[in-house]
């Protein structure tokens, strides 16, 4: 579904060029859940913005469903770290924002919006304003807003990181359910090893500055997975330990000479 072929991104910063990503090659299959993990500033958000067409790579190429990405596509939806809701629009109208911008027919998609809100447990909040909702509920609204695009690909940038631990787990389990129901391809950036192991089919570990692919770890734990006691605790422990190791030892890797 997503093919990244030697993508690089160099920003022209104030004090010379900043190499954010270098030579990333990666394929994400249709319906796959790919987590991306790495230290702060290693270029995770930049990678998502490249895939979503918000940034043009300075090197390499990126394609979705065989088409080269040059601008944002309607079948690719973003979920950001903050819900980014319009405070004057009701929950329902916030969800319908993409429909309006795409000039799709509103009545048709209204039903779908209600379905999505129902599915994420927000059925009774459709007519409320965002500030009347908790942080977790607001993030659910932004998830619904992404889903109304009927996306083939969802790009999620630390979507749960601003939430408290319990809400995070709840939303992660919910996202897993949505993913298995809709079969959307998801690229999910996170700082949390636990989240990555719970959700992902594969985890891409990025190394810091310039961001390169350190390793891609397979997570072969049967679904549905949960945070609670389950039959696969040992597998979870193994995968977590491996990711931990990769993230922690990474600073001792020989750094390429920069001059």
């Amino acid at each position: 579904m997503i093919t990244i072929d030697g993508a690089s991104q160099t920003f022209r910063g104030r004090s010379g060029p900043v190499e954010a990503l270098k030579d990333i090659s990666l394929t994400v299959g249709a319906g796959e859940f790919m987590a991306v993990i790495g230290r702060s500033g290693c270029g995770k958000s930049t990678l998502l913005r490249l895939i979503g067409g918000l940034l043009k790579p300075t090197g390499g190429r990126i394609a979705i469903a065989g088409d080269r990405v040059v601008t944002p596509r309607r079948d690719v939806a973003f979920v950001f770290q903050r819900p980014a809701l319009l405070p004057w629009r009701t929950v329902e109208d916030n969800v319908l924002l993409p429909v309006e911008i795409f000039k799709w027919r509103r009545p048709q998609h209204r039903e779908r919006a209600w379905q999505l809100l129902e599915m994420t447990g927000l059925g009774t909040f459709a007519k409320r304003l965002p500030h009347e909702l908790s942080g977790g509920m607001q993030q659910r609204v932004s998830l619904c807003r992404a889903l109304i695009q009927n996306p083939k690909v969802m790009l999620m940038d630390e979507p749960f990181s601003a939430l408290d631990a319990l809400t995070r787990e709840e939303l992660a389990v919910e996202l897993q359910r949505i993913h298995s129901e809709l079969g959307t391809t998801i690229v999910f950036v996170t700082h949390s090893i636990q989240e990555a192991v719970l959700l992902a089919d594969r985890v891409t570990v990025l190394s810091a500055r310039p961001g390169r692919i350190n390793k891609i770890v397979d997570v072969d734990i049967p679904r549905p997975r949960s945070f609670g006691l389950n039959a696969h605790l040992d597998q979870v422990a193994v995968a977590s330990a491996e990711l931990h190791q990769l993230l922690l030892t990474e600073q001792h890797l020989p750094t390429p000479p920069t001059d």
Partner: protein
């Protein structure tokens, strides 16, 4: 209705209306007692009683003049708001125009508007136009400045969202930036309302014909300080009324602003 909710409602009436009224009562009492205890000559500072008496001598005339000044304020203010919003939007739309217009705007803004009053007399003579122009001149800039500030205050994540949806410039402008700017626009409008009244009075004092400013100018010539104070009190009343109307419109149009700012 339960006791509890009627209790909170009473509390709300008290904080919204009771406290402001109490403030006014205390201020007037203070003024009154100062004039009485310090035995101030009404020629310098009249007591509230002198002012009320002066008003009651010619109430119809004073209310008429109040109405004339209010009309000038209102017309000028509406022109200033319409023009200010339009200019701010144009400047926000084009970096080039903004760069070109900014020094001129800043320069015109720096000119003391009082200094223009005699010129307006030369250009437009007597009557309403020079006063209205003065109102526009003084209340125009706060609207422009605050609207521009509002239009450029859109949070980065909303911009990113609009971009990820390939929203056109116009869609982003209408659906996101403009509404987001409204609370700031109202800050400018609330700064501009008293300025509009000041502008009208400047116009009328420099170039008297009708209106409360002319009444004040005339009372100076006839040493009638209580009359001047009555006119000032009426101006203050217009100002208060105007300000609360503005605040009311704000609550109606941007009810969400208070919720997200707290």
């Amino acid at each position: 209705m339960t006791d509890f909710s009627s209790g909170t409602r009473l509390a709300r009436v008290w904080t919204n209306a009771g406290l402001p009224v109490l403030g006014v009562v205390i201020a007037v009492t203070l003024w009154w007692s100062l004039t009485v205890f310090l035995r101030i000559d009404p020629f310098y500072v009249p007591s509230p009683a002198d002012v009320v008496e002066s008003f009651l001598r010619t109430p119809r005339f004073l209310l008429q003049e109040t109405w004339i000044t209010s009309q000038r304020v209102l017309v000028g203010f509406c022109i200033a708001v319409a023009g200010g919003l339009t200019i701010a939007v144009v400047l926000a739309a084009s970096r080039t125009v903004e760069r070109m217009a900014m020094p001129i705007l800043a320069a015109v803004n720096a000119i003391p508007k009082v200094a223009l009053a005699p010129l307006l007399l030369v250009w437009m003579g007597f009557g309403d136009p020079p006063k209205i122009v003065m109102v526009v001149l003084v209340s125009f800039f706060p609207v422009v400045v605050s609207t521009m500030a509002g239009l450029s205050s859109t949070p980065a994540d909303l911009h990113e969202l609009a971009r990820s949806l390939s929203a056109s410039w116009w869609q982003t402008f209408v659906k996101v930036r403009l509404t987001w700017a409204l609370p700031q626009v109202f800050v400018g409008l609330k700064v501009a309302t008293p300025l509009a009244i000041i502008g009208a009075v400047i116009g009328e004092v420099v170039n008297p014909d009708h209106g409360l400013g002319s009444v004040i100018a005339g009372s100076g010539a006839s040493n009638d300080t209580p009359l001047a104070f009555a006119a000032l009190a009426l101006l203050a009343a217009i100002g208060v009324l105007f300000f609360y109307v503005m605040a009311g419109i704000e609550r109606l149009l941007v009810p969400w602003a208070r919720a997200i700012s707290s």
